[in-house]
């Protein structure tokens, strides 16, 4: 069954490229159906009696699904669907749509693969599939800034690969295998060895680059802001989350030994990203760039929580361990929430870009009355990002902050609260500049975006509101949301 998550997109790709059947017009709808089916299939997964099917006996991918993975697969399906919707609304001709759909299918393959594999090297391989697709998608429109953004991503991503593979070879030396289980045992046994410490630090730093955590982040604002609208949605929503953050959380839970030093280092990076992203976002003039920095800041929360988990996991005090697990639950939840509300914000910016012709906030204003759905959903997303109750973002931040507090890391908790306030500040500033105030004369004729944008916005806004309202319910369906080994 799980193999289908990797094979189905590839099969679709072949289908839309076959000469007889390959009507290019069907490419994008087919990809959308696939993404939608994936989102629904993931929701059904917990209720499937057995996950192995006829394919499993033939293929041997060694796939594993964890609750974290389910969360990510769901996000991938959802965001890919939305991204394809936006792509359809913004890209125009059939040929481009077909190319876009093909690249998206490959990107979905890469993301699903990265989420499902249980081998460090395979994880790297699928991350690289996603990365190559991302380079191409960013440069999809071939405008100069996009080429520049993509090129920097190529360079930084290659540096990340070098760090990760170098570390991987050190781990291979000790573990003799790259499977998660073998690595976990070997790393736990030799966690005092300087070589392994170096390996862990190197690998984690590679993931930091891929995930765009400060100070490893500098490629990210350029890539997000120069990419075509639909691609920004995908990248910000799930792309960099799968390749950097998901891997970090998965490794923290399934591979890395509990280590206070690693945890502390990870937390410092997380806190630094939180602050740097928020501070830089305060002064941005372009919506997409502001959102990119905001992404960095929000990922800081996730990494901070992951670091808290790593730092607490080895403690002898069960309360600390429980607090660490709570932090991990918060990190996972925040990752998902962020996927939803940040893609929503990017869809909003895409609609604004399409209708008003610019994302420069100095040229915008008063669009709320002209584009009511975009304006309203954007407010929802912004409030959720800033963690205003009862939206989804509030709960995940609350969980993270509670966990930090319980772990005795009050300073980090306070910092997280303060950054939350700053987040609210810059997002409200953005709202004010774009959607409120007086409509500039040249924007008088602006109308709401086409159905693609509106539907995408409504889907994501509904999810973020529903997740917020149904949070208690979700917590009780813990098996879906949270890893089984986290007992709350």
């Amino acid at each position: 069954m799980l193999d289908l998550f990797i094979l189905a997109p590839l099969a679709c790709l072949i289908l839309i490229n076959l000469p007889p059947v390959g009507s290019r017009r069907l490419a994008l709808p087919l990809a959308m159906v696939l993404a939608g089916v994936q989102a629904i299939a993931v929701l059904c997964l917990p209720y499937m009696p057995r996950l192995d099917g006829p394919l499993t006996s033939f293929f041997n991918f060694g796939l594993q699904i964890t609750p974290l993975g389910r969360m990510l697969l769901l996000a991938v399906g959802l965001v890919a669907f939305v991204s394809l919707l936006v792509g359809q609304a913004s890209l125009g001709q059939d040929r481009r749509l077909w190319q876009f759909a093909s690249m998206m299918l490959l990107a979905i393959t890469g993301m699903n693969g990265a989420v499902l594999v249980s081998d460090l090297f395979s994880l790297y391989v699928f991350m690289e599939v996603l990365a190559v697709c991302s380079f191409i998608l960013i440069a999809f429109n071939r405008d100069p800034l996009a080429l520049e953004g993509a090129f920097k991503y190529v360079i930084l991503s290659a540096v990340a690969s070098v760090l990760m593979l170098g570390s991987l070879s050190l781990m291979l030396l000790v573990a003799g295998s790259t499977g998660f289980a073998a690595l976990k045992a070997a790393l736990a046994a030799g966690s005092a060895s300087p070589l392994l410490k170096l390996a862990m630090a190197g690998f984690v730093c590679g993931l930091f680059i891929k995930g765009g955590l400060a100070p490893f982040h500098a490629w990210l604002p350029g890539a997000y802001s120069s990419a075509p609208a639909a691609v920004s949605v995908l990248l910000a929503g799930v792309g960099t989350k799968v390749s950097g953050l998901y891997a970090l959380l998965r490794l923290a839970m399934d591979v890395l030994p509990p280590s206070a030093a690693l945890g502390q280092a990870v937390m410092v990076v997380g806190a630094f990203s939180m602050v740097v992203g928020a501070v830089a976002a305060l002064v941005q003039k372009d919506i997409k760039r502001l959102l990119a920095y905001s992404s960095i800041s929000q990922m800081g929360y996730v990494v901070l929580a992951a670091g808290c988990f790593l730092a607490d996991a080895g403690s002898a005090d069960w309360r600390l361990v429980a607090a660490g697990e709570l932090a991990m639950a918060g990190a996972i939840f925040h990752l998902f929430n962020h996927s939803v509300f940040k893609s929503l914000l990017f869809v909003n910016s895409a609609a604004v870009e399409r209708q008003a012709g610019t994302t420069d906030m100095q040229l915008l204003g008063g669009l709320g009355s002209r584009m009511p759905v975009t304006g309203a959903t954007s407010v929802i997303a912004a409030l959720s990002t800033a963690g205003v109750p009862p939206l989804a973002g509030f709960w995940s931040k609350l969980v993270i902050i509670l966990a930090l507090w319980q772990s005795g890391m009050q300073a980090y908790a306070l910092l997280a609260v303060a950054v939350s306030v700053a987040t609210l500040g810059y997002l409200l500033l953005m709202q004010r500049r774009v959607f409120f105030g007086r409509t500039a004369p040249n924007l008088q004729g602006v109308r709401e975006g086409s159905e693609g944008y509106v539907v995408a916005e409504l889907i994501l806004a509904t999810v973020t509101v529903l997740v917020g309202l149904a949070f208690p319910l979700l917590m009780h369906l813990g098996s879906f949301l949270l890893p089984a080994n986290l007992n709350l």
């Binding site: 693969g113 594999v117 081998d119 395979s122 391989v125 699928f126 697709c133 191409i136 429109n141 000790v174």
Partner: protein
């Protein structure tokens, strides 16, 4: 001992080829340097009992990649030399630092008494060959390879086909 002399010689040559690759002024020479580095790496891979990887490295990295790079250099020919070359010339000296770095690192390792020895894991059975490993244990990687090659192929179409906007 003679084996080790060979090892050291190969290593030194590898590093030298890499230095030449990055420090030569002309782009074509640089590409040739990269091919030479790959060839030396191939030799080292043979030395390390990894013939399949070595052959792969030789055909792809010493063959295909330089070919692509040479055509790229050809397409951007006017750019490579003069202005950029002049800036590069002085930089060869920097690589004199490499032995210094090496010595410093060795000193630090000894001085800090970093334990480099570690227990090795049990080797797999002698039956494991590259083919069986790749096919039986690393199918996911194979799928990934297919996907990444497809992506690159599409990338060429998307990026290079047709005129720019």
């Amino acid at each position: 001992m003679s084996a080790n002399v060979l090892d050291i010689a190969l290593t030194v040559l590898l590093v030298a080829a890499a230095v030449w690759t990055v420090s030569t002024a002309r782009m074509l020479r640089s590409v040739i340097g990269l091919a030479a580095t790959s060839a030396l790496l191939t030799a080292i891979l043979f030395r390390l009992d990894s013939p399949l990887a070595a052959v792969f490295e030789l055909s792809v990295c010493a063959g295909l990649i330089p070919a692509i790079l040479v055509s790229a250099v050809g397409l951007t020919a006017r750019m490579d030399d003069d202005a950029l070359a002049r800036r590069k010339r002085a930089k060869l000296k920097v690589f004199a630092l490499l032995p210094v770095i090496l010595a410093a690192a060795a000193w630090a390792l000894v001085r800090l008494n970093v334990p480099l020895d570690f227990a090795l894991p049990a080797a797999q059975g002698p039956g494991a060959t590259v083919q069986t490993t790749l096919w039986n244990l690393r199918q996911a990687d194979l799928v990934g390879q297919i996907a990444v090659l497809l992506a690159a192929a599409f990338g060429v179409v998307v990026l290079l086909k047709g005129k720019s906007q």
